[in-house]
């Protein structure tokens, strides 16, 4: 039921995702317990791109399952060639690595290295390709809130072109029948990317009132550098959530963000403060981060447990 590796969320069947959800709920209920499922197992965390919450979240998940974390951050200059990396991976396996959680900037990198050594690889985010555990924890967070996914519409706003989270959500949200509308400036929203089941718009104010969930994506300046946007201020004026747009939101609409949030770009400080003051339960950012630990415990459990 569960694949050996997890790079592409589409490799998980709906029932496999369902099982991850219920396992994550189990771990959340017992959040103060420590388990021994990964006792004696060494899980390598290898993050080749900056990451705080994903890495820490995986690290906590491994520890709560009783496993040992080995951090391996490459000296990038000596790891440029695939062949060197193969040696390094073989060394890690010889030293007792049982699985690797990997983050890399290049789409397809995990596909490459998973053919080099015979242990499971789990994506911690892979360039603009996919970020499967992020989509899973988002699903979990909504369901944990009692949201009926088949009845909601998600408005995803931001840098769709460079978003691995969006690409994982094309499948994740569709599995449970949630509607999805993508919103971005045209340069960040190539229509060829949009699957048939997903709708899109260039104008946020047109679709904002329909959203049960507003999912904000970070503007990824580090992946741009191509002059795609004239200025962040202009982006923010057109696509940022500000106090005026708060008034357009559907009653009870929830706000999500994979983090880290650029306050003042995706959402204005005024809007955050207004929501925190009046509707703190409608901002799910921290809850997403917290649930990330339980969902990653479930993923590690179901992919690696018993092996």
């Amino acid at each position: 039921m569960f694949p050996k590796n997890l790079f592409n969320l589409n490799d998980l069947s709906p029932s496999a995702i369902e099982e991850i959800m219920s396992r994550a709920a189990y771990y959340k209920k017992r959040k103060n317990e420590v388990f021994s499922l990964l006792k004696g197992k060494n899980i390598v965390l290898s993050f080749w791109e900056p990451s705080t919450r994903t890495r820490v979240s995986f690290e906590m998940a491994v520890q709560k399952l009783g496993g040992r974390v080995i951090n391996y951050s490459p000296d990038t200059s000596s790891e440029k060639k695939g062949e060197n990396l193969k040696d390094t991976l073989n060394t890690l396996v010889a030293l007792g690595a049982d699985a690797v959680v990997f983050r890399h900037r290049s789409p397809g990198f995990l596909n490459l290295i998973s053919r080099m050594v015979d242990i499971p690889f789990i994506s911690g985010g892979e360039g603009c390709y996919q970020h499967p555990t992020q989509a899973l924890l988002d699903l979990f967070t909504l369901r944990d809130r009692g949201v009926k996914l088949s009845e909601i519409k998600v408005i995803m706003v931001g840098d769709i072109l460079h978003s691995r989270v969006a690409r994982s959500h094309f499948y994740a949200l569709s599995v449970f029948g949630a509607g999805l509308t993508l919103v971005a400036p045209p340069v960040l929203l190539p229509v060829e990317l949009v699957p048939d089941s997903v709708s899109w718009s260039y104008v946020l104010d047109d679709v904002l009132p329909d959203g049960d969930v507003i999912y904000l994506l970070r503007v990824q300046q580090e992946r741009q550098g191509k002059g795609l946007l004239p200025s962040l201020a202009e982006y923010s004026a057109l696509y940022g959530i500000n106090e005026k747009r708060i008034s357009l939101l559907k009653k009870g609409a929830l706000l999500m963000h994979p983090g880290p949030v650029n306050i003042g770009i995706e959402i204005s400080r005024g809007a955050v403060e207004f929501l925190q003051r009046n509707y703190p339960q409608r901002i799910l950012f921290q809850e997403q981060a917290l649930n990330g630990v339980f969902v990653r415990m479930a993923v590690l459990d179901l992919l690696l447990g018993g092996k």
Binding site: K81, G82, P107, G108, N111, Y129, H162, R167, E192, L193
Partner: protein, 445 residues
Amino acid sequence: MDLLLKGGILYDPENGWEGPAEVLIRGSRIEAVSLTLGPVDVPALDLQGKIILPGMVDMHVHLREPGYEGKETIATGCAAAVAGGITAVACMPNTDPPVDNKEIICYIKERSRQADLARVYPIGAITRNIDGKEIAPMWEMAQEGARGFSDDGNPVTDSGVMLRAMQYALNLGLPVISHCEDLSLAAGGVVHAGAHGYRLGLPVITSASEAVMVAREILLQKEVKGKLHLAHLSAKESVELLRWAKSTGTNVTAEVTPHHLLLTEEAVGDFNTNVKMNPPLRTSTDKEALQKALAEGVIGVIATDHAPHSLLDKEEDFLSAPFGVIGLETALPLLWTKLVGEGLLSPGEFVDRFSSAPARLLGIPGGSLEPGSPADLVVIDPHTEHIVSSERFYSLGRNTPFEGWRLKGYPVMTMVDGDIKMWQGKVKGFSKDFPAIKRILQAKE
């Protein structure tokens, strides 16, 4: 070698022949072609059930030597060519050092003489160092045997430089071959700007990045009126521009590769680096437009863009792996099976596009078995099916996107200049058990 080929079917449109024929070879030349030649004093080879074609002429090949002998050498590339029924290749100048002077032309000619397999015609660089800045010494290179000019792999970005190069080549009567790509539009891309590429999260190459340069070259050609050839077209927009150019009397030719004729962007699958090439595979609409243009002769030439890389070169993530796929050993059976076999091209049209037309364009021997012409030919077996297996290639490259395909029409004999270079998959000088002619004749009796 003196030899009579009998019992086979010959397709030689340039010589007006389509049907059963006996072909008499004396020394290095074709002496006669006829339905029956009557008794002759030379040994005969029975080719019952086989098809005889003029040898294929591949005008777009990367032989990698000098400089990248780990990827391919002139000898291994030529072995791959004759194994694939290709008797002449034109090799691209992006070697190290690049082919931008007569000494390198001489070196390539000398190395191909030593290899003694396929004929090799060097393509000289348009600009020194292939950097798009200063025109290379074209006349000197032409004197030593360059048959055309290209900065293939790199576009000539500066329109003024391209215009002057086309004007300069006018004097030499040789084609300028353009790799059409606007780098500012291709911007680091590795796959087509379609659904599949975008889903993989890879940077994309739009069709316009090719088509805007196709448009530029056509407009320059309208002023220069020389010989312009457009390499490896991939986009339907380029085809539309080419149609317009031809309908307005512009002298322009173009080529298409087997992979662009047969594959679409989905072939990249989950980041298969053996399906990474430039220009990239595009959509089924593009593929169909290319097939149609080839059938109508708007695109007049098939060329492989054979671009070998070592296993290690391709054993990288998709972004880092080099562009290029190989084609010499698969092109003939592939297109015989998929284009001729499915009625998209007649056998005669196929021979024209992959033999006669490129030979005419480069002004080289081949492309026909007219009496008096060099005996460059290939015999194919249209009935037996083989599975493409890169392990068995003579090329040092294994980077084929067609691994595992089942094909018919594999060559069983390749002859260059009256000499058998390949017999039933064995290449002269490469296979230890390459048979003597006596054995070949006995085997068939």
